[in-house]
Point group: C2
Chain length 169, copies 2
């Protein structure tokens, strides 16, 4: 009778203390706070210093990685934003002379977006300064902190991707 106390307790615990996930919630909120803080600062500096928005900077950053542009769909995947969103963003960057649209020679549906020479030059000027802002924002972390954080965020990224894929409805 009483020797069943242990398994019963374990059972009771499982029922009365179904795991609570407040810790994960706090972790998520802190992650979001860090991103919001840094992003807000970068956004403000880009505007004040170069009169450019963060989405435009991000788009140019993707294009600067490749020599000859990429399609809207590629941009969309890499930037993790919708296609429709990019249409307008590219419109504005074409209007300001930073990028150009070219019909893909191999697929007449597809548009290749590329930086103009001046667009690339302007981006690189901004990017060089941007790098210092980021270095300053993370400036109080040691090299070890940065390594650890990088690794843990890598693990978080994989975990999130796994969870998202798993939802297949």
């Amino acid at each position: 009778m009483d020797d069943q106390a242990i398994p019963l307790d374990a059972e009771t615990k499982a029922v009365e203390m179904p795991e609570d996930h407040r810790e994960e919630l706090r972790l998520w909120l802190r992650l979001l706070t860090c991103t919001t803080l840094i992003e807000g600062d970068v956004r403000r500096r880009l505007r004040e210093r170069f009169d450019v928005t963060l989405p435009r900077f991000d788009l140019m950053a993707q294009l600067d990685k490749v020599p000859d542009g990429m399609t809207l769909s590629d941009l969309s995947k890499r930037m993790m934003v919708s296609n429709g969103n990019l249409t307008g963003l590219v419109d504005r960057l074409v209007a300001s002379g930073h990028v150009v649209r070219t019909v893909s020679p191999t697929d007449r549906r597809a548009t290749v977006i590329s930086l103009t020479d001046s667009g690339r030059a302007e981006f690189r000027t901004m990017a060089a300064e941007h790098e210092f802002w980021i270095a300053d924002l993370f400036g109080d972390l040691t090299a070890r902190d940065r390594g650890d954080l990088m690794r843990l965020l890598g693990k978080t990224k994989l975990s999130a991707r796994r969870a998202i894929k798993g939802e297949a409805q």
Copy 2:
């Protein structure tokens, strides 16, 4: 002559390898990726499951923490968004019956925003499920990972705040 090799090398290194901050940049991009992934998933689930947007959920989350509502300015500070943004957000939540506006009894400029009873009940239903989504998204991290990440993000938050304050123009 040759015994000056060491200081000269150190000097040379400092000149030819002015610190590059690509590591911090990668760290920032990874942080942003994690946030974007998780936020996108939460946004989609809130819409599909409860037909609510993330900003509305966030606003209600702030209000649920207090018994009697808070002013628009308080909400603005806590949510790290502009006042003007909240005006419209509150308008829509008033229209849907989730919150109410009351003129502050002590300051006729200020509006106190509070959850209605049904708004609070509805929020708590959503929040309970939301907690599981977050737990799942972070599910592959060990308790130790979560603790480490929490600490490192805490340090990051302080570092960013220090950098932002320091910019006082």
